[in-house]
């Protein structure tokens, strides 16, 4: 099959041509402009002006990350966000212990610490806002003890000068203080243990370039102890396998250099069986499909090189059907209310399926491991393991590890999906 290279001349096989073919194959196009408007509205909304948003104010940092992630996927970051305002928001959530809170007036949590670092990495602001080696002192002049007791002081960790408002060493020390003797991590001073926090901790330390601040080996051992009879992973040892936890566990092992310890076939098959009649993916056996698993499950399949084990075209169609034709955005299921969480993960699914690149939508590749643009992972040289893709033919994959997937290859696969879907449509007529 002929696949266009970049810069191919306009014609029946140009991206534009493929957009039309894809629309014919799936019965619906990607409404990029509407999604950009939706993201813009979310980015500028006053989150205190509705009860629903106010009730989730505690996770505002993650909501901002989802919105920024969604904008980046369709290459619309500068259109949707004011960089200075983003940085100012993160600054307002920087805490004296080195962590970041979900919104101003709350305390540090590893979930929001990771979101904050992801945002800073995405807008390339690390160098200008952070310092290292304990130069930074918080308000009052006293340096904060690295693993010190949680302070009840709130608000900013006021920078002594300039725009630098956090210290990478202190942040890494905060994360290290969350690690338990068994290698697991608690999320915050509340003390909840969950493999979600193992992922956050390792990824955040990697973003800081300070993975050695934590015991990576013990962290990976703990993650592996959460493996179940079905090969997949739960939140704690003995916890039922769940697509979201599988992502966290594989992601942590990828960052920690231990992805080879996973039974890729068994996990890959369990993940492949998440595809429902609708074409969408679910998080656990015999549950409903939900667009967000187009991120959680599919990113795992890419990490394991086993995304060809599902019908990619059926998944593509399902995500496209969950778009809101009027207001933009993507919902969990067709005809449901769109929100920024599902918009981000739906677009991420379409990006990993190669659909955005294949149809000529302005877009960026996302890292299935770090959930930030692949360009950032590459430019920061972040540690990362993925397995080479298993060919459709069933031949053995190549040996060793890769760091990510090439946008051109993903687009080529998506165009094959379009042809498959068109062929099936033709056969049905």
């Amino acid at each position: 099959m002929e696949i266009d290279g970049p810069g191919a001349p306009s014609g029946p096989s140009s991206p534009l041509g493929w957009a039309a073919k894809a629309e014919r194959a799936y019965g619906v196009e990607l409404w990029r402009e509407k999604h950009v408007q939706f993201i813009k509205a979310v980015a500028s909304e006053d989150s205190t002006q509705s009860l629903e948003l106010h009730a989730v104010q505690y996770l505002r940092m993650s909501a901002v990350y989802w919105a920024l992630g969604a904008a980046d996927l369709v290459d619309a970051t500068s259109e949707c966000f004011d960089r200075d305002a983003l940085v100012a928001f993160i600054r307002s959530c920087a805490q004296p212990d080195g962590g970041f809170s979900g919104s101003p007036g709350r305390r540090s949590h590893v979930l929001y610490t990771l979101s904050a670092l992801q945002i800073l990495a995405m807008v390339d602001a690390f160098a200008e806002v952070s310092t290292s080696q304990g130069e930074l002192r918080v308000a009052g002049g006293a340096p904060v003890a690295a693993s010190g007791s949680p302070s009840h002081l709130h608000g900013l960790a006021e920078a002594s000068e300039g725009t630098r408002f956090f210290d990478a060493s202190l942040t890494a020390a905060y994360i290290a203080s969350l690690q338990q003797p068994d290698g697991s991590f608690v999320g915050d001073l509340g003390g909840e243990v969950d493999t979600r926090f193992s992922y956050c901790a390792l990824t955040a330390c990697a973003l800081l370039g300070k993975l050695d601040a934590v015991d990576v080996s013990a962290a990976c051992d703990f993650v592996l102890s959460c493996q179940n009879f079905d090969g997949s992973f739960g939140a704690t040892p003995g916890g039922e396998s769940h697509g979201g936890q599988v992502f966290c566990c594989l992601g942590a092992l990828s960052v920690g250099g231990r992805l080879g310890d996973v039974d890729a076939d068994l996990v890959g098959w369990w993940l492949a069986e998440r595809q429902c009649d609708s074409g969408g993916l679910n998080g656990r056996p015999e549950k409903q499909a939900d667009v967000c698993y187009s991120w959680w499950d599919l990113s795992c399949m890419l990490m394991l090189g086993r995304e060809s084990w599902i019908s990619r075209s059926d998944l593509t169609r399902f995500i496209l059907q969950c778009q809101d034709a009027d207001a933009g955005g993507i919902a969990d299921r067709p005809d449901d209310q769109a929100d920024i969480y599902h918009t981000f993960f739906g677009l991420a699914g379409l990006a990993m399926l190669g659909h955005l690149a294949a149809t000529g939508v302005p877009c960026q590749a996302i890292s299935p491991v770090y959930a930030i643009p692949q360009r950032v992972v590459d430019s920061l040289g972040l540690p990362c393991q993925m397995l080479p893709p298993v060919p459709d033919s069933g031949e053995a994959p190549e040996h060793g590890f890769i760091r990510g997937r090439n946008l051109h290859d993903l687009a080529a696969a998506a165009r094959r999906d379009v042809c498959v879907a068109l062929g099936l449509a033709a056969a049905a007529e």
């Binding site: 001073l189 509340g190 243990v193 102890s225 009879f229 449901d336």
Partner: protein, 489 residues
């Protein structure tokens, strides 16, 4: 925002409804502002406790509210033993209210576990509590116990009262009342015995699981209770069997049964003997295959029992010595007849698999292993027959249905029994126990899978080429010990 229909949200609200919404927002904003101010200043006076309780009951996922509460209740627990029974009752009431509102609230489940741990084992938990309380003491503005009964008027009381105006008014009022810790005067001294009954908690879990059999938070909490109470794994296995009998589709129950049986097998294994062959032992595997058979003949299309079935096949693979699981070398020898281990297939995850296969040592083979192999082959043959029978039934039933070859809808008949058949036949071949008819049947099973389940065609091609190790590898051979205490975390 999961499962909310777009159309229902776009309906034009009446002016009245809009006003009502705006009012609720104003109340919530005021109340959460007050509650967060208490958190920020670590205020433990006046109505701070009631405000915190009420806001947690309304929004148990706001982690900052718990951050305020945790050192506070630990301080009370530690410094005022005579208040413990009331404190416990209040916290249990609060978490129950929170979980009624939000059954998947991580933090409400965590809090319940904590308070139960504290009450169940006062000595061990007191140490943990003391640590937190002393850590907290330095920053506590005022470590007073909350005022009695929530009756004290305060500027916040209005907001609190208004917040009750919504549909859950009663729930909130109940929660706030039950979470109130009155003054210590009227209370008896704390008894030395545990303040709570773990079997009552287990019963509560059973009730919760009747409402939602897949709530993994509740299953996690229940698992913790099992470890904490020292419940024998046999009891847990029976509980799971009852759940499965009620609904064979309940994957959470199959998962938990795998945990219970692994633990049971580890307990009954003679100490010091290596875990050779099937981790569960072939007797247990055989009876589990019976259990699965009941489920799959009831609901052949439901995937849940089939994942468990695969796990059992992996146990048999270990008995044959053809699995990639860490099989002791003495058993590998029994698989000498098989001829399918293409080294070029092996991904990094197979490193252990290869080294196991490279170490056959026929002299070391005990006689018992030969018997185990024969028994495993017998069980595999029985599964083969059962799967064929089930497939025939399915094909008969589905004969009139439209072919499902278009990939967008459903499956053709017989996917799951065909997959099991293919795996069993691969195992027999790799163990050198397959005849010509088996080899043909293996090919036919994969051809059928490609036809009835084209979505997973790439996987079937891969598995066909790779052999049984694609699926029939054992995991969780050793039951992992529960964290014995694990209480405070």
């Amino acid at each position: 925002m999961h499962g909310r229909k777009r159309a229902s949200l776009r309906e034009q609200l009446s002016a009245e409804a809009r006003e009502e919404k705006a009012k609720k927002l104003a109340i919530y904003k005021k109340a959460i502002r007050v509650a967060l101010h208490h958190c920020a200043t670590n205020n433990r006076e006046g109505t701070a406790w009631e405000v915190n309780s009420k806001m947690i009951a309304m929004n148990p996922d706001d982690y900052e509210l718990w951050n305020h509460r945790r050192p506070w209740y630990l301080h009370i627990w530690n410094s005022s033993p005579q208040s413990r029974a009331r404190l416990l009752a209040g916290e249990l009431g609060l978490t129950q209210m929170a979980l009624k509102r939000q059954p998947k609230s991580y933090l409400a489940w965590l809090h319940r576990r904590r308070i139960i741990a504290l009450a169940f084992d006062t000595d061990a938990e007191a140490a943990a509590a003391a640590a937190v309380a002393s850590e907290d003491a330095g920053t506590a503005a005022a470590a007073a116990e909350p005022a009695a009964g929530g009756t004290a008027a305060s500027p916040d009381a209005d907001a609190d009262a208004d917040a009750d105006a919504d549909a859950d008014a009663e729930v909130d009022a109940e929660a706030a009342a039950s979470a109130a810790v009155p003054g210590a005067a009227a209370l008896p001294a704390a008894p030395a015995a545990p303040l709570c009954d773990l079997s009552a908690e287990l019963a509560l879990c059973a009730t919760f699981l009747e409402l939602d059999q897949r709530n993994f938070h509740c299953h996690n909490y229940r698992r913790w209770l099992l470890a904490r109470s020292g419940t024998p794994p046999a009891d847990d296995a029976a509980f799971c069997e009852a759940l499965i009998a009620r609904s064979p589709s309940n994957y959470s129950a199959w998962h938990q049964r795998s945990q219970a049986l692994s633990r049971l097998a580890a307990e009954t294994r003679e100490p010091g003997t290596p875990a050779a062959g099937a981790a569960l032992g072939l007797t247990m595997v055989a009876s589990e295959l019976e259990l699965v058979r009941g489920a799959i003949f009831t609901e052949p299309d439901d995937s849940s029992p089939w994942f468990y079935h695969r796990w059992l096949l992996a146990q048999l693979a270990a008995s044959l010595g053809v699995s990639g699981a860490p099989v002791p070398s003495m058993l590998v020898a029994t698989a000498a007849g098989r001829g399918h281990c293409p080294a070029d297939d092996c991904d990094p995850g197979l490193a252990g698999w290869q080294s196991v296969r490279a170490a056959p040592s026929p002299e070391a083979l005990p006689e018992a292993a030969g018997t185990e192999t024969d028994e495993a082959v017998r069980l595999l043959r029985a599964e083969l027959a059962a799967c064929r029978e089930l497939r025939a039934l399915e094909e008969e039933a589905g004969a009139g249905a439209a072919p499902a070859h278009l990939g967008t809808v459903g499956l053709g008949p017989g996917k799951w029994p065909s997959l099991a058949e293919a795996t069993v036949l691969q195992l027999l071949r790799e163990a050198g126990r397959a005849d010509d008819a088996d080899l043909k049947a293996e090919e036919a099973a994969f051809d059928r899978l490609l036809a009835v389940d084209p979505r997973h065609a790439a996987f079937y091609r891969y598995a066909r080429r790779k052999g049984s190790s694609a699926l029939a590898r054992g995991l969780m051979r050793e039951a992992r010990a529960m964290p014995a205490g694990g209480a405070a975390t």
